[in-house]
Symmetry: C2
Subunit: 327 residues, 2 copies
């Protein structure tokens, strides 16, 4: 691994972000990444965070048109309420703050606690929890995991916040997007965490796991190797569900970390074909490593059905380390 | 691997590019990727290409402010002259075309042949060969390999071409940048090509190879695992050479494909420290997977010393799949 010592991985990465991105304020000691011009007057602040190891999520999504701040935890471990509170205080212009939280027990609890602490300091906080992973049934245990859909929530809520919408409206957009998104992931090889120094789960060569989470949580089914086309069919079948045909859809074809971009674009062509065969119309398709799982080999697809308004918001300028267009 | 069959990997990827990037014209059958508005009136055309497996290079760099067209070969195999000729014809507005060629025997020969064919069709062609890899001595065999420096040549020559400079001037900038760039790469684990289905070279776990090429060509030295800081010191020592201290430098901290972005940012912080200790001033630092080697684990660093003019060109708008800012 390209590291110094496992204990310093997150700190080292934050130092690197500071070196590469003068447009961000990186508080290495307290582990908070904030857009440099925060708090932006008359703008709702967007804060997210979660365990490290999913980069560019969330720090790579901090900037105009997306997040105001991100709080990275240790690898695959929730950040602590103090980080979130600092982030909220740094970005609150008086218009309030929206927390975007992936649905994992630690993250949900810690963001809840941070929201209470922020309220005590007079910061209005709303929270949206993202549960887009359709691999597991919705009603069981802690519920569905938050994965690639987080990108769409952060981007679309970020866009409407940047346009000056009040907290209620930003929250409404975030909930609408979170409810609409659905994701499904496949692992071809496990990832290795710095602390373990080896694979987080066992996946024999020549097999793959359908419905995998972004921390190597078990999936729906283990199978012998499939072609890219077969994986796309299985994935799209798991995703289309109650989707109304001909609704425009934003599509994320996401690499988990170690999948070559050459292969990921090939997979995107199969996803595109599989969607077309089911009368789903990709309005925009984003291909790349956006919500990763360290060096896991594999891919996920997220569908985000949109109306005209959301599609227009998607197109507004965004300027972050990992997602950037317009202005 | 996330593929259908090895023989169709490049074709599938091009289909995916077409699906994801309506701003590009992708000729899948002839394997040419062209910016949709080509030829741009009164603008010199920039064409590059090379073996596939290094994505986003070169197709991901096609767009305003960078390349006009890219020709992908088979994995780790030069494209053929016919592709380059088609690309030249598609982008020539009458102002001529610059070929940006990485220094590998096949690429150099095929681009030479394409330049002759283009001349016969009345297209003025100039060529710049990039030989930025300092791992091997400059004077031996086929000379130094072209690697990460290609990004800077394509970007800076692309910027001056976009501004309307004539072919002589675009060529001069390209040569100046190509001469100035120097790169050094390190592999922590080999890559696997679709055709082989397994590793391209043998690198025992717990060892790394310093001075590796982007096709797994042997490096300068094999060693036991080093920390990220030690790798940065060895890399920067290999790079600074005759660099004048206090010259501003563009820095690329490049992932080879399977290195987690979390680790790459940590490495960027060590590169930044190592440069500072040697009085080198990074004017801008780019961190990410830009010139890859399929799923190789590892990293490279490219330094591109710049003057005020080149720094200004770097900052002008660019709008490609992989590099994008401004406008």
């Amino acid at each position: 691994m390209l590291i110094n010592v496992p204990e310093r991985v997150v700190e080292d990465a934050l130092r690197g972000m500071a070196a590469a991105h003068p447009e961000l304020t990186v508080d290495v000691a307290n582990r908070v990444v904030v857009r440099r011009d925060a708090p932006v007057a008359n703008k709702v602040g967007l804060v997210s965070g979660g365990g490290s190891g999913h980069e560019p999520l969330h720090g790579g999504f901090v900037g105009p048109g997306m997040l105001d701040a991100a709080c990275p935890g240790e690898v695959f471990t929730s950040p602590v309420p103090d980080q979130m509170l600092r982030a909220a205080a740094a970005v609150d212009s008086g218009e309030g703050v929206l927390f975007v939280v992936k649905n994992y027990t630690g993250d949900v609890l810690n963001f809840e606690m941070a929201a209470e602490l922020a309220a005590e300091e007079g910061i209005r906080v709303e929270t949206v929890v993202v549960r887009d992973d359709v691999a597991l049934p919705a009603g069981e245990g802690a519920g569905r995991r938050g994965t690639g859909g987080t990108l769409f929530v952060e981007r679309l809520a970020g866009a409407v916040a940047e346009a000056g919408a009040p907290l209620e409206r930003v929250t409404e957009v975030a909930h609408r997007v979170a409810d609409a998104c659905r994701s499904f992931g496949v692992a071809l090889a496990p990832c290795s965490t710095p602390a373990r120094g080896g694979p987080t789960f066992d996946l024999p060569e020549g097999e793959l796991e359908l419905g995998i989470g972004i921390h190597g949580e078990p999936g729906r089914e283990r199978r012998g190797m499939m072609t890219s086309g077969e994986i796309a069919d299985a994935t799209v079948d798991a995703l289309v569900g109650d989707l109304r045909p001909d609704d425009p859809v934003l599509v994320l074809v996401n690499g988990m970390g170690a999948t070559p971009l050459l292969e990921l674009y090939g997979y995107a062509s199969e996803v595109s074909r599989a969607l077309a065969e089911r009368s789903v119309v990709p309005a925009r398709m984003l291909v790349g490593d956006y919500v990763t799982s360290l060096d896991m080999a594999g891919c996920s697809v997220t569908l985000c059905p949109v109306d005209e308004e959301l599609l227009r918001l998607w197109e507004t300028p965004v300027r972050t380390a990992a997602l950037r267009w317009g202005a």
